[in-house]
């Protein structure tokens, strides 16, 4: 058969299709990982470099934070030397980056604590909230988006679109305050502030993170719903849907097995882009909800000029984003393999 482009893997077919398929799948995952790594490693390097350069740019010094009322030029010099800040910039960066690779983010200027530990503690809170926000966002966004797509151009669609528009323009802090007033103070359903680790029980944990997660999730709900609606509508226009129809597949099966699968891709990709915003918005929500998380730590450190802590926060957030995107890419590669073939 001359016209069939012989695939390059053809010689391997003797090994049997199952083996070939397994290798195929593994190869795909590895390829995705490699491709993502090729993107993310430079990203990480650049981002950490920018982050590190912040100190030099800021002109802040641990001496001022530490010495307080007793700062004299000599004392400042002494403290800076003690922190190794008198060395050349690149040497400092190298040292810091070396530590970074070992998970060592240095110590805080304000209280001398190990920053990795501090961030680790805050991260528990923030990740709990962010994960729940993601879950809420994805679930609600999914329901709204699919309903709107399936009831396209009806009043249901318009109502959902209107609602989604409304919540997408509500800044997290406005949402936060409204939620506290309504649910915590008004209805006494949830506590208004604070955090309880999951180890102390699932219910209290959930109770404490529900409102902040809800506040944080609005943006996600809006984006997922909008994107899902658009891509589902687009997917329904695709020929493969017609193809499935003429093969006699039921509408349910077509929706679940074909449309959804392809419509999910763009929504997933939005989620990858949404994550940094989610991490960023934690600064505001944690402030409003009195959570001692990552965002609050970032704000406090930034406000107190604790440069290593700020750097640590940024690095960790970058790692979070990178890891999250890596996961999204892996899932995407699985859900929509076609999207992976291009550049």
């Amino acid at each position: 058969m001359t016209t069939t482009l012989a695939p390059p893997a053809a010689p391997a077919r003797r090994r049997g299709p199952t083996a070939a398929r397994a290798r195929h799948a593994l190869g795909r995952v590895l390829a995705t990982l490699a491709r993502s790594a090729a993107i993310f490693v430079p990203v990480f390097l650049v981002a950490t470099f920018v982050t590190f350069a912040l100190r030099s740019l800021s002109g802040l010094s641990p001496a001022r934070v530490q010495l307080g009322e007793d700062a004299t030029p000599e004392a400042i010099h002494r403290v800076e030397a003690q922190w190794g800040l008198d060395r050349p910039f690149l040497v400092q960066y190298g040292h810091w980056f070396g530590g970074l690779l070992h998970g060592d983010l240095g110590t805080s200027w304000t209280n001398g604590a190990d920053i990795s530990t501090l961030i680790g503690l805050g991260l528990g809170v923030s990740l709990s909230v962010a994960s729940l926000a993601l879950v809420i966002g994805v679930l609600a966004g999914f329901v709204l988006g699919t309903t709107a797509a399936l009831r396209q151009t009806t009043w249901v669609d318009r109502a959902i679109t209107g609602f989604v528009t409304l919540i997408s323009v509500m800044p997290a802090f406005v949402v936060g305050i409204v939620l506290v007033e309504a649910f915590a103070v008004g209805l006494h359903v949830f506590p208004s502030a604070g955090y309880v680790p999951m180890a102390q029980g699932l219910t209290p944990w959930l109770e404490h993170i529900t409102l902040p997660a809800l506040a944080l999730s609005f943006d996600v709900v809006a984006d997922v719903a909008r994107q899902l609606r658009t891509s589902l509508v687009a997917a329904y226009r695709e020929n493969y849907v017609t193809g499935a129809v003429v093969r006699g597949l039921s509408p349910q099966r077509i929706f679940l097995g074909h449309v959804l699968r392809n419509g999910l891709g763009p929504a997933l990709a939005t989620l990858g882009l949404k994550f940094p915003a989610l991490v960023g918005a934690s600064v505001v929500t944690e402030w409003v909800f009195g959570l001692q998380g990552f965002g609050r730590f970032a704000n406090d450190s930034a406000q107190s000029g604790d440069v290593p802590a700020v750097q640590g926060v940024l690095v960790v957030s970058i790692v979070l984003v990178v890891v999250f995107n890596l996961l999204v890419n892996l899932v995407l590669a699985r859900v929509t393999p076609a999207s992976q073939r291009g550049v």
């Binding site: 695709e238 017609t242 193809g243 499935a244 003429v246 597949l249 393999p337 076609a338």
Partner: protein
């Protein structure tokens, strides 16, 4: 290709004659009448009459003998775009008995695709059947519920289209997409469906079906994809296959292979074919009967040989002339004739 297919092509002529003799009554009925009808070429009126006559002869009311009953009969089909409030197709009619092939040829926008889609129950929004009827295996499609449609499609009537790549889900391996049809339509188990899927891929002459089975659509060439689509379309053993411009986007060599494949299926399984193309030659190659459409009307309808040799309508003549003046026929025709 191998000795097998050669053998097949030898069998073909025998089978063909055999089938023809078997199906003589039904076939002759349609074509003979069409041929003898004097008003044939002046559009709707003619085809109306022929359809009505054909219906009277074969009749869904059980007057005609069982096996020759048409699997697809379209009578004076009219299609209207409700949004633009205009009639797009003004009365198309034809009948298709098992193992036969009807070709529809016509200029762009003449309503070929809409006719096919009407028969599949997948007209675009706002576009409706506004007159006439379509019977699939004796059932009037106007009475079908969505659920019944779902049951009918795939197992009685199925279709393949132009641009095969877009008619397969890009995210799912092709094998799974075929197996899905097998499982859903024939209720087979997973393993069984896989075996049947592989058989189907083999049946459409794909080399190395195991590999193809586990590939994604974007990993296959256009010709391979069209075969996969055909495999999926015939997975549930339909009685009618509608091929709407199924070979238009393909290379000529690949087109020839696909046309061969369709002919094989027709012979081996008694599949009835509706072949839509804008190329008269393609239709000439596979079909017993041709409808020539123009601006929503059937301008000529008759047995292929007759339409080719004695085109009545000006448009049909243009179609023939295209080949004879600008095409290969110009060089080949004399040779053929001398042979």
């Amino acid at each position: 290709m191998t000795a097998l297919s050669e053998k097949r092509s030898q069998q073909r002529s025998q089978q063909q004659s055999q089938q023809q003799s078997e199906q003589q009554p039904g076939h002759l009925n349609a074509s003979a009448r069409a041929g003898s009808s004097p008003g044939r070429t002046d559009a709707a009126g003619g085809s109306d009459r022929s359809a009505a006559e054909a219906a009277a002869a074969t009749g869904p009311d059980g007057t005609a003998p069982g096996p020759e009953a048409p699997v697809l009969s379209v009578r004076d089909l009219r299609i209207t775009d409700r949004a633009g409030d205009r009639e797009i197709v003004h009365g198309v009619g034809f009948e298709l008995t098992p193992g036969k092939a009807v070709g529809i040829v016509g200029e762009s926008g003449s309503g070929k695709t809409l006719t096919c889609r009407a028969a599949l129950g997948i007209l675009p929004p706002h576009v409706e059947v506004s007159g006439g009827s379509v019977h699939i295996a004796g059932t009037d499609i106007a009475d079908l519920t969505p659920r019944q449609w779902t049951a009918l499609r795939g197992s009685t009537v199925s279709a393949v289209f132009q641009d095969p790549a877009s008619y397969l889900n890009p995210s799912i391996r092709v094998g799974a997409q075929i197996a899905e049809v097998v499982r859903v339509k024939t209720g087979r188990g997973r393993r069984e469906a896989r075996r049947r899927g592989l058989d189907l891929l083999r049946a459409v002459h794909l080399r190395d079906p195991e590999l193809v089975y586990s590939q994604y659509p974007f990993e296959l060439s256009g010709g391979m994809l069209q075969r996969v689509l055909i495999a999926a379309a015939i997975a549930a053993g339909p009685r009618v296959l509608i091929a709407d411009e199924a070979t238009t986007a393909l290379d000529v060599t690949v087109q020839a292979e696909i046309l061969d494949l369709l002919a094989d299926l027709r012979e081996q399984t008694g599949l009835a074919l509706v072949v839509v193309s804008h190329d008269l030659a393609v239709i000439a190659q596979v079909c017993d009967e041709v409808l020539v459409m123009r601006q929503g009307e059937v301008v000529e309808h008759g047995p292929t040989a007759q339409v080719l040799h004695d085109p009545r309508h000006e448009y049909t003549r243009l179609l023939v002339a295209e080949h004879e003046q600008y095409g290969l026929d110009r060089f080949r025709a004399p040779e053929e004739e001398t042979r």
